[in-house]
């Protein structure tokens, strides 16, 4: 598939992928590799090792792989570098172009002494009619991450940035519904890029000055019709801007914490707040993050088991802590039999993230009284009124 004259998509589509190291990918994914035919032949990124043959087949339709002069490795992670060893066997004259951390990372991953060219940030490589410009974007989302920009084509190849886990026959943004793309891009950002808002903001600033009419990420569809839309979303997400919505994340053992969650919801709704309920017994942590990215108010509830929070909540909060969502309002709640430590454990996580916590957590013993549940509902309403102010 030719995206621009002489520039081809030669990636692989992973229809069967549903679990990406603990992150559920309900729509599968793709690993996008791009082939540029100029005086020099350049392959930008490869695919996960098990899709090597698919990529090789696509390359062979265009050119003899042995003619590849450069393989650009924008990112060391093995969903993009996995096929590099086999690809280099088919392209023995190729030089691997990568960042400073990229070379260190590739050597450590593959134990090979390949022909490396380390690109400094801002360095350009003339390949004929076109120039490749390499810009380091450390921590979007790894230390080695860099992007490749082709000014003559107004084409940006940013690897994981602007990516979505979508397996599809569609290759471009205008071939799929915007709602699906927005949700997939949000889900991707929330699970992978969220801790690096500052770095994304810096990168967006640098890109702002460039002429770009196509963005080819390393996963999912290629942006060409909706570039302002996706840039707007990234601008929002990287500044932790959210909507006046509430998310209630909870789990329950005998139903008390769940009853409290529902009462909080009732109170929030009475204040006019849209509420999303996510029980950890039926929702995966990575799906909860998609709701979290747009919710200003986050209520988290767990019963206490053996002097601590439930393990499902432990998993959620370990994941959340790592992704560092900022600028939220938090509220903790739960039920207990004798220890009751879970609520203060939840509050400690919220405090560590510098969330605003206007109301102290509620912890109720065994089974709440009707009056206590009405008080919980009132607390929900109070939180909602604060949010909508």
């Amino acid at each position: 598939m030719e995206l621009k004259p002489g520039i081809y998509w030669v990636g692989g589509v992973d229809w069967g992928l549903r679990n990406f190291h603990g992150y559920l990918t309900h729509r599968g994914s793709s690993y996008n590799a791009y082939l540029i035919i100029d005086e020099k032949v350049v392959l930008v990124d490869t695919v996960k090792h098990y899709l090597f043959e698919e990529m090789l087949g696509r390359i062979k339709e265009i050119i003899d792989p042995a003619k590849i002069d450069y393989i650009v490795s924008n990112h060391v992670e093995m969903d993009h570098s996995g096929a590099l060893p086999k690809m280099l066997k088919c392209a023995p004259n190729a030089t691997v172009v990568t960042s400073v951390q990229g070379e260190k990372g590739l050597r450590r991953h593959f134990k090979e002494d390949w022909k490396f060219h380390v690109a400094q940030s801002g360095e350009s490589l003339k390949i004929g009619k076109r120039t490749l410009v390499f810009v380091h974007t450390p921590m979007v989302h790894w230390p080695d991450s860099m992007v490749t920009y082709i000014p003559e084509e107004k084409l940006l190849l940013p690897n994981d940035a602007f990516g979505q886990h979508i397996a599809s026959a569609a290759r471009f943004d205008d071939e799929l519904e915007w709602g699906i793309l927005k949700e997939a891009a949000a889900n991707y950002y929330a699970n992978i890029v969220l801790p690096y808002g500052e770095q994304v903001s810096k990168a967006l600033g640098a890109l702002g000055g460039l002429a770009i009419d196509m963005i080819g990420p390393s996963h999912g569809i290629i942006w060409r019709s909706r570039i302002p839309d996706i840039l707007k979303e990234y601008q929002k997400w990287c500044t932790h801007a959210t909507e006046k919505r509430a998310l209630i994340i909870y789990d329950s053992m005998w139903g008390s914490t769940e009853k409290m969650a529902h009462k909080l919801k009732d109170g929030l709704e009475a204040a006019g707040v849209p509420v999303t309920m996510r029980s950890l017994s039926t929702n995966h942590i990575s799906d909860v993050m998609t709701d979290l990215i747009c919710s200003k108010l986050v209520l988290i509830g767990s019963p206490t088991l053996n002097n601590g929070m439930l393990p499902t909540m432990g998993a959620m909060l370990t994941y959340l802590k790592g992704l560092k969502p900022r600028n939220r309002i938090g509220f903790a709640f739960g039920s207990f039999g004798w220890g009751g430590q879970a609520v203060s454990e939840i509050e400690a996580v919220m405090k560590g993230l510098n969330w605003e916590m206007p109301i102290k957590g509620v912890n109720l013993k065994w089974v709440p009284d009707p009056e206590e549940l009405e008080a919980v509902k009132k607390t929900g309403k109070e939180l909602g009124e604060r949010l909508m102010k």
Binding site: H136, P138, M139, Y196, E198
Partner: protein
């Protein structure tokens, strides 16, 4: 005279500026790099103090 030089993380490029400190991690402005506790981690990527170099 305490060392008020900036130090850069060799993993991700983050720069520690002693004048700014790292208040989010309880390192007050004005703290020289050498005075930061050894358990401190790079606020961007989590690398250790030993991964930093003087600029």
């Amino acid at each position: 005279m305490p060392d008020m030089d900036k130090y850069q993380c060799t993993v991700c490029g983050y720069v520690y500026d002693p004048e700014q400190g790292d208040p989010d991690s309880n390192v007050a402005p004005g703290t020289p790099f050498s005075a930061i506790p050894n358990e401190w981690r790079c606020p961007t990527c989590g690398a250790e103090k030993s991964d930093f170099v003087k600029m």
